[in-house]
Each structure stands twice: as C-alpha cells, then as structure tokens.
Subunit: 270 residues, 4 copies
C-alpha cells in the first residue's frame, strides 16, 4: 500500500527491535507513506537488534537513546530538530517488566523491579513528551502515539505488573494530551491484540492464551502489519480531532463477553 498519506511528515519511532516488532512494521509503513523519521531504541536493546537493516531500508538514521534518560532524550530531540525542524509524529513502543523477566508473580513483586519497569514502560512516555514540549518541536496537528494493552482495563494473569504500568501509560496519554491540545497536537494510545513472536510460538503458556484471544475476537487477533496501518491512519491528517483516546485495535476482542467458539469449547465435555 502507498497512499502518500504521510508525505512530508517527520517523526521519531521508538522501540523497533527486529522484524517482528510492531514499531518495525510502523517504520516500514510510514516510509512507504512518505514519512521521514529517526529510529531510536535503548542502546542495550539495539545491540541485540537489527535496527541498521531497517534504517537502510527506510532511509532513516538510528539514534540510540535510553528513553528513561532525560540526557539521552535531549540529544535525540536536538538531533531530530537539527535534521527535520519540527516533528509531526512520535511512536512510543517501549515496555518491559523486570518482575516478569525474573519470574516474580504479581503477589510477590520486587519493588525495585517494579520501579524500573514503571520507569521504562510508562514514565518514559512522559519524558518523551516533556522533551517535545520543552523544545516546542511538534508541528500543529502533530500526532503522538503509544502502544498499550487491554490489561490496563482487565486482568490477564501473567501480564503481571505490566498491567499497572499500562494503566499509568494510558493516564499519561490523557493528562499530557490535555495540555498538548493547546498546541493542536493529539496524543492517543493504541491497545493492540497480542502478537505472536517466534520466541513465543509453541510455548504452552503463550500459545494457549494467544489462541483464546483469537477465538474471542470476531476478526481474529490483529497482527503487527495491521497495527502499523492503524498507526499510519492515526499519524495522518484524517484523524486530526481524535485525542486522549485509548483505541482498541484487536479484532473486536475488547467488546466480546464470550464467543461461540469459547462456549463450544466449554461444552465439549458436557
């Protein structure tokens, strides 16, 4: 697809890691639609990733930044302003829970880990917007997006403290979105279906949940490319008056109480 929807628009995309990342797909689609952007990720994540491949493919520059570091963000935004002047869009696709990584259950959180995950997954979004605010570097009708998950509204065991972080993230979007209104800039979150990665496929805990979500969604789980297309729509001039919203991109999952497929499964044994 190429509609030139983002022709002439400039931005920063945080969080592309490899070709299964949503942010990676967003970068590819933004490039196809005519946008120019800087790719950024945490230095530590980049060492594991293949971001340079994406940078070449999309004619982008890579500028590493720890999004929890005001210093790193300042350098990144200074470089972005030097290159582009003002910005039209920002994607925040950053999240990580140390408690989950370390296998700490929700009832036994380590509070240092909690703080680290909160800082990375949620506060970083405030830091990014504050930097854009301080530099006054968003064009009018610019669009800022963060990716989130429905665990912010309902409990999914094993999503652990990321649920609370996502709730904080979504609140930041509303709170800062209120102020960015003055500058005619919109701020929203997209609440995306679970996306299966190579690492997750076949893992019992992940596959069972993924299949349940797919069975509950009338259109099935939305994939990373679909999500990238939705991000393009939200960065485009077609959605200028949508702000402070949490937008479910999930094949209908959020609005289903139970699907026939799930009921059927529960009736098999009867």
């Amino acid at each position: 697809m190429n509609y030139a929807l983002l022709q002439g628009k400039k931005g920063i995309i945080f969080g592309a890691l490899n070709d299964q990342s949503i942010a990676w797909k967003v970068a590819e689609r933004c490039h196809e639609e005519g946008a120019e952007f800087i790719l950024s990720n945490a230095p530590i994540a980049m060492r594991m990733g293949e971001l340079n491949t994406l940078a070449e493919k999309t004619g982008s520059e890579v500028i590493p930044a720890d999004a929890t570091s005001t210093e790193d963000l300042e350098k990144l935004f200074d470089a972005a302003v030097a290159k582009f002047g003002k910005l039209d869009f920002i994607l925040h696709s950053i999240g990580m829970s140390v408690n989950i990584r370390k296998g700490k259950p929700y009832t036994d959180l380590n509070y240092d880990y909690l703080q680290k995950g909160w800082d990375v997954s949620a506060v970083s979004f405030h830091k990014v917007m504050k930097m854009a605010w301080d530099k006054d570097c968003m064009n009018e009708w610019g669009s800022i997006l963060a990716l989130t998950y429905i665990a912010a509204q309902r409990v999914f065991p094993n999503y652990g403290d990321m649920a609370d972080n996502k709730a904080f993230l979504e609140s930041i979007a509303r709170s800062f979105g209120y102020y960015f209104g003055e500058k005619k800039v919109r701020v929203n979150t997209i609440s995306q279906s679970p996306v299966m990665t190579k690492a997750g496929a076949g893992v019992k805990g992940i596959t069972g949940f993924f299949n349940f979500a797919d069975h509950m969604s009338p259109l099935g789980n939305a994939d990373a490319l679909d999500c990238a297309n939705y991000c393009v729509a939200m960065f485009s001039d077609l959605t200028k008056m949508v702000t402070m919203q949490n937008l479910f991109h999930d094949g209908g999952f959020s609005m289903v109480g139970v699907s026939q497929k799930v009921v059927d499964k529960y009736e098999e044994e009867l």
Copy 2:
C-alpha cells in the same frame, strides 16, 4: 441476616416469579430487614408463579400489573400510595425477548418481536419511573434499582436482542436518574452474574456458558441471594449518594480479561 437496615421503608418489587427469581430473594431479604412492600408482576406471569406464597411469607400484598401498561401502573401506584404514603424503593426485575423465545437469531430478528421485548424489558422501566415521578411519590433519599446484564457492554451470543434492550435500560437509568436527582432520589442498575435455574441446569448451551462465567470470575458467579443482599445495601441509607451507576455484581467477571482456569483449558490440548 437481619440488620434492620430497611426498617420503616416501603417499596414495590417487580418481577418475582418463583423461589429462583432474584426478585423473590430481594423480597425475602427486604422483609428480613424490616421493609414493607407490594409485590407486582404481569398477570400472565403470575398465573405460572407462586407469588402468593411469597406474599404470605413476607406479609405483602400482590398487585398484578403489566409494566408496559400505563393504566395498570397507575392502579398499582395509586394502591401503593394509598397503603404506604410515599415510597422508599422500587426494584425492576423484568426482562423478556420474544426473538429468543422463538429461536430467532440476532441476524434475523423479527422487528415486531423486537419491539415487544424492548417495551417489556426496557421501556417498562421508564414507565414505572414516570408513574413515580407523576405521582411525586418517592421519599427523599429513595432508591430505584433495575437488574441488568453485562451483555449491554460486551457481546454474548445467544443473549441476542436482550443486549440492546439492556443497553437501553441502563441508559434510561442514567437519563431518569439525572432528573430524579432534583428529588434526592437515586437510580442505579445492578449488573448481575448469570444465575442457573432448574430449567437451565444440564442444558448444554446454558451450562457451558455458566461454567465459563464461573471460571472467569475470581469469586465465582454471584448467586441470587448475594444479589438480594446487594440490593438491600443499595436500598439502605448507606448508599445515598450513589446514582446513575451500573454496578457489577459478578464475582469480578467484568474486570477479568482471561483467568488462569480458562488459559489452562486452552492449553490442555497443546
């Protein structure tokens, strides 16, 4: 239990049919808590029911009324006012879908049936409140409740057009609740877990769904007696400033995206 929470309070309870009805349990509990009330149900429903047993047990009068009929409601409210003076509480537990009874799927609704179900299940609540409004017969700090189901927010296949009726009902509660504020009367809906009836037990489509709901609810499905207790709390003076709310009484179902039990079921086969 008996806390005398409703000592001296007077009301009308619509919709008790037999001892499995929520309204039946509400009547029993209101009686235990010291309330006096009139029991009302549609003449056609009463012929099938055992309402007189309940009336004797609770020292209540039965006054039949088709809640879609302004004439019937006028007689009922006139009798209530003659007996009690002003009222403190009303319970609306009325719902019926002709489309579901006749086995019409949601994609093939009969629109006459739709209108009939809408009138019985939703508009009747407006008619009841309008009658109370016109007679100006609610005491200050009175409490009006209707029972509803989460299908008003999320889709449950086979709940069919009742979902849309419940959405309308909940909107009526908010809309009329706004105006009843002037009279210091509150209006709320309680969104209750599915309740298994003798008729439903063992029926494949019903049992599977009931078990799913139970597995998704951290406290399990709430039963009719629990619901009656919640109604007592909402009729009491402890909840005077709660109005226009839809209150989930569901063991947590509404706030769970997936439970471990459900994931486990999905992983059995992997």
Copy 3:
C-alpha cells in the same frame, strides 16, 4: 485532500440532507478519495433537502428509502447490488426524536413518539445491516459505520430520549459486529462532537451548550469535515481490524473531567 484511499470502493451513504450534514461531507470526501456510492435518505427528508446537488457533484445516484422500511431497504440494496456488485462501506447517519421535536421533556415522554424515534434512530441500523447480511453483499474487509453521540454514556439534558436511542444503536453495532466478523466485515460507531448548524447558531439553549463543549475539548469541537475525514479512515484498508468500537471524535471532550477554561468561568464570580 485526495489520497485515493477509497479507490474502487463502493458504498451506500444514508442521511445527507444539506451541506451542513455530516453525511454530506462524508459523501464529498469519499468521492474525492475515489469511492462510488449511492446516496439515500427518507423520501420526506429529501423533499426538504438538496440531495441532487450532491449527487451531481459526486457522480452518485440518489435512491430514496425510509430506513425503517424493509421494503424500501430491499429495493435500495437490490439497486446497489445491481450497480456495484458487492459493497465496501455503509454510513448510517440517521436520527430523530419526535419527543424532542414536540417539546416533550424526558420525564414526560410520549411512548408512541418514543417508539417512532427508536425505530428511526436505532432499529433502522439493524434493518440496514440485516439487509446487507441477507443479501450477503458486503465484500470482505468491508466497513459499516454509524454516527452517535456521547449522550449514550453520560446525560446531556435536552438530548432527551435520543440518549437512550444512541445507547441502543451502539449496542446494535457491537451485537451485529460480532456476527459480521465471520464475513470479515467491521462495524463501528463514531461519537462526534456537537456540530453547529445555521438553524442552531444564536439559539440560546444550543449556543451555550456548544460553547461549553468547545471549552471542555482541548482541541475544540470537531467539525463535520473532520468527521468526514475520520469516516474515510474508517472505511479505508488502514483500519481493517478495528471493530465493535465506539470511537470518540470530539477533540478530547470525552476524556476531560473539567477544563481550565470552565474552572475559570466558575471562579469569575468568586
């Protein structure tokens, strides 16, 4: 703007009346984006309108249909199928309250008027989708939209029984959207800011409310053209996995508890 986003797409647009109608703007924008469509409105509304001007401008055919009439809808859909084969999009922008027109307050609804408004404003959406379902005339990844208002969630006095109708309409979108998932068709509602019309400007009750909404919205009230752009995005292939959602297009109104402008107004007198 013209991105050819809807190139080759075919649809039906209900509810354009004059150049202040949102549906009118949607038609203009869909035309610019390459879509072909039939314009439809109630015969009685069309006599007052200037729909032929729009039809000429957009190369469209006008087919009158009372959207509450299955017969009219059948003729319309037969004509659409004859002309286009399958359809890609439908816009439902139809709403009317007899009670409001006749000045009946919410606490004194006429129930015949209520039923008429419900049928026109809400049930018509089911009838339209049922016709599309029966004819099996939606292409995969087709998109069905209805316009709604936040009165479905919160009370706005004077919006009266339209609030309840919109709640029913939004529930229909979810319920039918669940089933349309099988056909890979999405169904959503857009909850739009109030739009000032020539008729409303200067009228006390309307202007005060419009200004309040504008003051509460960080981006101000969204206008009809903005809404049309959002509809284009929702009809396009960029939003294929968004379904059963109620999407606020309101400059942020829905997510503001109070704005500084409103607080300032409340503090003037202190």
Copy 4:
C-alpha cells in the same frame, strides 16, 4: 446510625488525619457499626494530626507506619494479627503528590517527585496487600478498599500526576483483586467526590472547581460521612461478591455530560 453491620469484624484503617479526613469518618462509622480496628498513618502525618482523639473515641490502637516501608508494614500487620487474629477489612486512604505540593505543573514534572508520589499514593496499596497476602491474615469474605478519584479516567487540570497515580492504584486493585479471589477476599476502589476542607474553602482555584462538581452532580457532591457509609456497606456481608470494581460515589457526577445548571451559566452572557 447503627445497624451492627460490622459486629465482630476487625480491620486496619490507613490515612485518618483529622476530623475532615474521610478515613476519620470511616473509623467513626466502623466503630458505630461494631467493628474493631487499628488506626495507622505515616509517622510524619501523625505529628500533625489528632489521631489519638479518634483512637480514644473509637477504642482503637494507633500504630504508626509509613505505608511505603515493608518493615513498618510488617510490624503493623504482626501487631494486628497478634491483637485480632485474622482481619476482615482494610481501608487505604493515602495519597500525596510532591509535584503538586511544590507547584510543578504536569508538563514540567520532577521525576524524583513523581516517583515519591507514586510510591506513597499507589505502590503503598500493593505493599499493604502483599503484606496481608504473605501473612495470610485476611478472613474469607474480607474486604479491602482504597479511595480514588475520577481523575484516573478523565483529566482535571491541577490534579496533575495524582491522576496517573490513581490510575495505577485502580489497576493494582484489579490485579491484586484477581488473586485475592482465591482467598474469597474482595478488593475495590471508591471514587469519591471532591471534599471541601477548611484549608480549601475560599481558595479561588479550589472553590470554583468544587462548585462546578457540585453543579454537575444531580445529588450534589458527596461528603465524607456519606463516603464512610458507603465504605461500611462495602465492608459488610451485603456486598460479598463485588470485587475488582471502581465504584463512583459522587452524586452522579461521573455520568453527567453537562447539567442544566452548567448550561445556564454558559448562557448567562449570551
């Protein structure tokens, strides 16, 4: 009022400061209803407060604890268990934003202050529940409550980063509530109207907002005593199956889009 609703129940009440505190009223009402409890507050807050008066009045013990300190909480819970055996209820009424105290606007948060406020206002609730979980000291059908504010859902300027903290707090209630289901313990939040304090009365920024909220609420703003009554209902056995909910106790504010009083104010000048 005294219904002996909490006869024999034991608990801990966090956050009573002076006779205008909601927690203070909760303590008084719980005492009247027959409960026994420990009063706890941060040592630093207690030096300013009059907690001993309340302790005497209610026959309670005061045990200071910084609710962000696992060590303090452990001592507190050990003392509670020693005194009461198992517990039936806990109230968390703790919140503080350093950014607001220091006058830092939301667009210019100090991130150390943010973390401190987050820890005090939100994480402390997790710490309290984790301690109760680890000690396994909640009776079946126990009830845990935290107080919150609608800023978690919608923006109120000047509520600043407390909005994000409250969103995190409410998410904790859901997340931990899911797990406490296993133990038949419920966890909910009550979202309370603004309460005017002596300090706030007459202050321009506060009074204007308080009056707006009052004008938007059909029953007016709920006061601290009303809130205490609602807490009693939620601690009682009448609400055993309500869990993971955020319960608005606000005179209807949350469900009003605009009130006639507010529209009238906006029309005065027209």
